[in-house]
């Protein structure tokens, strides 16, 4: 056990491990690129959907059930399925990651919208705001803390799952995990896993801190 940890330490701290096309720096950048793009696409789908459902109150059933659907979705299965349908490209990876991220974004956006005090919405309408003004000037800003929570959770999930890109021969930190498994190199597997865990936790903490700073004027 001690041997393993020591080897892991050496692996992570050796200079050559960090450079080159198979280096940690490059793999990390790839990993973050996949994750950010997938989360952005998911946000482009999930945010309007959540806002629409929250504003109109129609389709609440969808928003609520999407959450459990998202949890039940087998990500690797989805990658394989889309891979078989579309052939070798990043498409299956993005489809799977987006499918993973959308539910968290939709349900949190919807929850944020429904948590807006009806009295405040009524007052906004009564002052003469039109539907879109109520949405963008009142509901959206008030739902923003929960919307950001949804985006943060989605991003963390995607970062943790983006290792599957390597499963279909692309890059990212998953490379170490899958290559390590193929080469029976446990240190490399562990190194990849630790790196994924560390950036997931670091992102979570820093984004939480950002949220607290941005919404410091809000009451609970």
């Amino acid at each position: 056990m001690y041997e393993l940890l020591k080897n892991l330490g050496d692996w992570l701290s050796s200079g050559e491990q960090w450079t080159g096309p198979d280096g940690i720096a490059h793999r990390l950048t790839e990993h973050l690129q996949y994750s950010l793009l997938a989360t952005l696409i998911a946000a482009a789908i999930g945010l309007p959907l959540g806002l629409l459902i929250g504003h109109t109150g129609k389709g609440a059933f969808l928003a609520i059930n999407l959450a459990s659907f998202g949890r039940a979705l087998p990500t690797v299965g989805l990658v394989v399925l889309v891979f078989l349908a579309s052939g070798l490209s990043m498409t299956p990876v993005y489809v799977a990651l987006v499918a993973l991220a959308v539910p968290a974004i939709v349900t949190n956006t919807y929850a944020g919208m429904t948590a807006v005090d009806p009295e405040v919405k009524d007052a906004a309408k009564g002052q003469g705001m039109r539907g879109h003004q109520v949405l963008f000037q009142v509901e959206l800003p008030l739902a923003l803390p929960l919307i950001m929570t949804g985006l943060r959770l989605a991003l963390i999930q995607v970062v943790a799952t983006a290792t599957i890109a390597a499963y279909v021969s692309f890059g990212g930190l998953g490379r170490y995990v899958f290559d390590g498994l193929a080469q029976r190199d446990l240190v490399q597997v562990l190194g990849g896993a630790v790196l994924v865990a560390v950036i997931a936790v670091a992102l979570d903490l820093s984004l939480s801190a950002l949220q607290r700073f941005l919404f410091r004027h809000r009451t609970a």
Binding site: V120, A124, K125, G128, Q133
Partner: protein
């Protein structure tokens, strides 16, 4: 200014909120809609700015049918204050007040300077403008709600139980402030409350509603208290409605004279301002009254005062004379009779 013409409102669930209402509210002055909960007073108010649409009949503001106007524009032209103020928690107090001017497309700078002006009008400090609503007390939030409604200087102000959620002391303060503001601004105000005392204090006219959305009586407070239309109104006004009537009459016409000799004498200071009542071996506080004070407070003071006398003072607090319990009582009785026989 505001006309309801055979207005009927039935909600989708089948309940009738307002039943065949015909009511004409003249320009200027405060009309209070009063009644127990579920009597349709709030629905009536909300039909003025189209927050609720009538099932049948017409509501006109300034002669124009409200349903023929764009709803958002109509609402911007009518001030609206609700219970709990309904302030936007993510905007500063100043930006809350600036809401309607901004919606009307006035520049940010102009809207903010107008908002700062109103902050003063409703008795808040400039510093309060930078705070967020949750940092203010309930009473202060209500003031902001009033300021927001006044920001675009609308001729009509709708107030839906605006002081319902604050404690009695603050409520009285806010009522006084509203009366003071109304003296300056002369808006056409429609005010909803379930509190008959608030209605009597604020209303130039009071419209009493009964469950099922029926308007039972619309009259001046004096008329209402002196001649309730039926038992329902009389019950609603309560057993002390005779005393409430006295709260509307002033002391001005009650005769006064020099203090008579007796066991108790009124002690004055050098400026002839009353200090207290004194007898051979005791002292009791005095509460001097001005001509503008009500007959009710005069009656109350005459009961509390040891010699049955009230001290009358001018605006500066200088003694002008005293009035006896008997004079006040007789005058109160006469005020009642006059109100009851007046056509």
């Amino acid at each position: 200014m505001i006309q309801f013409d055979a207005v009927h409102k039935r909600f989708p669930n089948g309940t009738t909120a307002v039943h065949d209402l015909t009511l004409d509210l003249p320009e200027g002055g405060v009309t209070v809609l009063v009644g127990s909960s579920g009597c349709g007073k709030t629905t009536t108010l909300r039909m003025v700015n189209r927050m609720v649409e009538p099932t049948s009949g017409t509501v006109r503001v300034g002669g124009k049918d409200v349903t023929e106007q764009d709803a958002a524009e109509l609402r911007r032209s009518i001030g609206y204050v609700i219970q709990q103020a309904g302030l936007f928690p993510h905007r500063t107090v100043l930006d809350n007040i600036a809401t309607v001017p901004l919606l009307l497309g006035h520049g940010r700078r102009r809207a903010r300077s107008r908002a700062a002006e109103l902050l003063e009008t409703v008795g808040l400090s400039a510093e309060a403008g930078k705070r967020y609503p949750h940092q203010l007390s309930g009473g202060q939030q209500q003031r902001v709600g009033v300021a927001r409604a006044l920001a675009a200087d609308p001729p009509v102000l709708l107030m839906d139980e605006p002081f319902g959620a604050v404690d009695p002391v603050v409520r009285t303060q806010l009522q006084d402030e509203l009366l003071r503001l109304q003296k300056e601004l002369s808006k056409t105000i429609v005010f909803v409350t379930h509190d008959i005392d608030e209605a009597v204090r604020l209303g130039d006219r009071i419209a009493v509603f009964r469950a099922g959305g029926h308007l039972v009586q619309c009259a001046t407070p004096t008329e209402l208290l002196a001649r309730p239309a039926d038992d329902f109104v009389a019950d609603f006004l309560g057993a002390e409605r005779g005393l409430k009537l006295l709260s509307l009459k002033t002391l001005a016409e009650v005769p006064q004279g020099p203090a008579p000799q007796g066991d108790w004498t009124l002690v004055l200071d050098a400026a002839r301002k009353p200090l207290h009542w004194a007898s051979k071996d005791a002292e009791l506080p005095v509460r001097p009254l001005k001509d503008t004070d009500s007959l009710l407070s005069a009656l109350n003071e005459s009961l509390a005062s040891p010699a049955g006398l009230i001290a009358r003072v001018d605006a500066d607090g200088v003694l002008t004379g005293v009035s006896s319990r008997e004079d006040i009582h007789e005058h109160a009785g006469r005020a009642h009779t006059e109100a009851r026989v007046a056509a």
